[in-house]
């Protein structure tokens, strides 16, 4: 029996970073040399920025994790570990010694991600070895109302964005009288720049499924759907296998664990429409129609899928359930705050050092999330803001970094908790451009049912585009604010109702940037191309001609060893000269 285990992260970003080649090499080296090593795979470890990530452990040896492993490293690393003489320049975790990311892990609390990066997500046995499906066993011996009371007592709030009490929602669906009910998992993950749900789906599919079966039992449903974004092929693959394995083992299907309870779950692949993340649109889409939101009431709990009572929860909400049933509401409440108990998974991205997936107790200050767990801002740049809640959310500026991550505190800033996307911006990010980016997104994704959402967002986008091109006027700011009010009032669903948020929060916290674009015709972040001006500094230009050779429109003139000049009328502001000059003689203003 091999005593040493080599475990490689094969989640989608691991594969994208080259983990596939490392896997092949590991297999080859272990086989060719008959090394006493067992090779295992897992999915997202959360340290996506260090991919490919390899964990080594074994009896009498420290558990360590290596980052940015390449196929060429494999032989040395394995030999070194076996002989206790490992030398590697990127040991990211070490059980007994200082290592770069020890603190990153120490500051987290993993409930939802308890198995992610630990187990092989395609192995039901691995899940069972971690206590998997014990919560279902326990739940099936409880009365449905006992389960609902436990979920209520835990204070769990929906992780899909709105933060509604999960226990209350379950109670509504439970109370609905009908012989047919459905449960649905919302795995549409629409926020562009967020991947919490992808990692959980890929890394621990059984946890979500177990949560859904428990929910179905508690609410009296016997059928359910997982609605998964089509851009997540690996998540779909792992879910399919998990459903089949669970059914074979008798955790799903007819007469579950001999209790007489039946439950069937199906996968529905999305087809690319952000609005389908909205629960009423999602149900339309499952029914095979255009995903257009419908008026509530009736709420899904009364009349949902095919007119039957339906309960929809987010991936992360479902994944919390087995833990709560196993450990109890009290244990859950040990983490987080009074009104936002438990933990929250965040996807850190943008200009942050440790971009990846983290799970922290609610109530942690944003500052700690970004600096202690996230490792701070890339390339020593200055922090400007962090976008929470994607297109429905807002940008929290530096002076509010002591805001704690819980539903109510974040809402106070004008942003929203959202589903957990955190995109960090630095001094090079233009906040007007960010607002324009989100309006472009929502404008594209509006289903078109409500006039204000359809036309209003387009007007806002036009104004924002104008401002970023230096053609804005001060009245435009008032117009934006007026449009925002009307869109919020005149929209049927959350997409329209929250679409103006990115504009409103940037106007609130970064108004000076708007004014700089409008009055001074300057982009303080040097990001809006139309407002840039490239010039040659005659003091430092040595006349090397590098810039002139790179310019795609040939608008730089000057003889060898003479100062060069740029014809501003022809310049298309591509920045090629700026990148080409080795003497820092070209300025960008």
């Amino acid at each position: 029996m091999e005593k040493i285990i080599a475990k490689l992260g094969l989640g989608s970003c691991g594969i994208a970073a080259g983990a596939g080649e490392v896997w092949t090499e590991l297999q080859k080296v272990i086989n060719d040399n008959s090394l006493p090593i067992r090779l295992e795979k897992t999915a997202c470890i959360g340290m996506c920025f260090e991919e490919p990530v390899l964990e080594l452990s074994g009896e009498g040896k420290p558990k360590i994790m290596l980052g940015k492993v390449t196929a060429a490293d494999v032989q040395n690393v394995l030999d070194g570990y076996l002989n206790d003489k490992l030398e590697y320049n990127n040991i990211i975790l070490h059980e007994h010694q200082e290592a770069v990311h020890n603190e990153l892990i120490a500051n987290q609390k993993r409930i939802v991600l308890r198995n992610c990066g630990v187990i092989d997500p395609e192995s039901l046995e691995d899940y069972e070895a971690q206590g998997g499906y014990q919560a279902l066993r326990k739940a099936l011996q409880m009365q449905p109302m006992q389960i609902i009371d436990e979920v209520k007592a835990s204070g769990l709030r929906g992780r899909g964005g709105a933060g509604f009490s999960t226990g209350m929602k379950w109670q509504f669906a439970h109370n609905a009288k009908n012989d047919k009910k459905y449960v649905v998992c919302n795995a549409d993950e629409g926020d562009p720049g967020a991947f919490m749900d992808r990692s959980t789906l890929e890394g621990d599919p059984h946890a979500i499924i177990e949560g859904m079966i428990i929910g179905a039992y508690a609410m009296g449903a016997d059928e359910g759907y997982l609605y998964v974004r089509a851009e997540y092929p690996m998540a779909i693959k792992h879910l399919k296998k998990a459903l089949a394995d669970a059914e074979t083992k008798g955790y799903l299907g007819k007469n579950i664990m001999g209790t007489g309870f039946n439950c069937e779950l199906h996968i529905k692949e999305g087809a690319g429409a952000f609005v389908c993340g909205e629960e009423t649109a999602l149900m339309q889409s499952i029914e095979g129609k255009r995903g257009m939101p419908t008026i509530r009431p009736p709420f899904p709990a009364e009349s949902g899928l095919w007119g039957k009572p339906t309960n929809i929860n987010n991936v992360e909400t479902w994944a919390n359930i087995p833990w709560i049933i196993t450990n109890g509401a009290k244990a859950f409440r040990k983490f987080g705050t009074e009104k936002s108990p438990g933990t929250k998974v965040f996807a850190l991205a943008g200009k942050i050092v440790n971009s990846g997936l983290i799970e922290v107790p609610m109530g942690m200050p944003l500052h700690d999330v970004i600096y202690k767990v996230g490792g701070g801002i890339k390339n020593g740049k200055k922090f400007k803001g962090v976008q929470l809640g994607g297109p429905s959310g807002g940008c929290v500026p530096a002076h509010l970094l002591d805001t704690t991550v819980d539903y109510d505190s974040i809402t106070k800033t004008g942003a929203i908790m959202g589903s957990g996307g955190m995109v960090v911006m630095d001094e090079d990010s233009c906040m007007v451009d960010i607002a324009r980016f989100f309006l472009n997104f929502t404008q594209n994704e509006s289903c078109g049912k409500c006039t204000f959402c359809r036309i209003g967002t387009r007007r806002m986008l036009e104004i924002l585009t104008r401002i970023t091109e230096g053609k804005g006027e001060m009245e435009d700011i008032d117009k934006l604010e007026q449009l925002a009010v009307n869109i919020i009032k005149g929209s049927l669903c959350g997409l329209g109702q929250t679409a103006p948020n990115p504009v409103l929060t940037t106007l609130k916290y970064f108004r000076d940037e708007y004014i700089a674009h409008i009055v001074d015709k300057k982009c303080p972040a040097h990001s809006c191309t139309a407002l840039l001006k490239y010039e040659v500094n005659p003091e430092t230009c040595v006349g090397c001609t590098a810039c002139a050779r790179k310019c795609p429109v040939g608008c730089i003139s000057g003889a060898v060893k003479q100062v060069h000049t740029i014809d501003q009328n022809k310049c298309i502001k591509c920045g090629a000269c700026y990148a080409a000059c080795k003497f820092n003689a070209i300025t960008k203003e």
Binding site: R198, A349, F437
Partner: protein, 154 residues
């Protein structure tokens, strides 16, 4: 053609009588024919009894459905937030320039590539990201784009 009609009928019979199956059905049809052809959609309507207007409505609503033929490789350029702040525009421009795509064209003349924009591929840590076929490439710069495209020639 007759072959394809038989495959089409196989898909239709697979979904026969299943409620709410229009979207997966069209996905399978698109996988078979590369895109959703007008005459195919009419045929699907006749065979399933779903009104043609509803089929066209669904096909135009979801961005995954393509109503035009597409290249051998589909390049999905991520325009999500993380990729946007990490320079996705520059990557898109570099790809379009390298493939010599003009104006609003999205498919190359030799029908090798179709370029489309998507919102987040879920690998934001590797931003900026693109996907060619089912392979993901991250941490791109405009300078590394040509080498990536070179891997996919006829």
């Amino acid at each position: 053609m007759s072959n394809s009609r038989a495959d089409l009928d196989a898909i239709l019979s697979r979904y026969k009588g299943r409620h709410g199956a229009l979207i997966p059905l069209l996905q399978d049809v698109q996988n078979l024919e590369g895109y959703l052809r007008q005459d195919t959609m009419k045929y699907v309507s006749e065979q399933t009894g779903v009104p043609a207007a509803e089929i066209f409505g669904v096909a135009t609503f979801y961005s995954m459905f393509r109503l035009k033929p597409q290249g051998k490789y589909v390049i999905r350029v991520c325009k999500g937030t993380a990729c946007h702040v990490s320079g996705a525009n520059g990557i898109l421009n570099a790809i379009r320039e390298n493939l010599k795509l003009n104006g609003t064209d999205d498919t190359t003349e030799d029908a090798l590539f179709t370029v489309m924009e998507v919102a987040c591929l879920g690998c934001c840590s590797l931003a900026p990201v693109i996907m060619i076929g089912d392979q993901t490439f991250g941490k791109l710069t405009p300078d590394t784009v040509p080498a990536v495209l070179k891997k996919f020639s006829a």
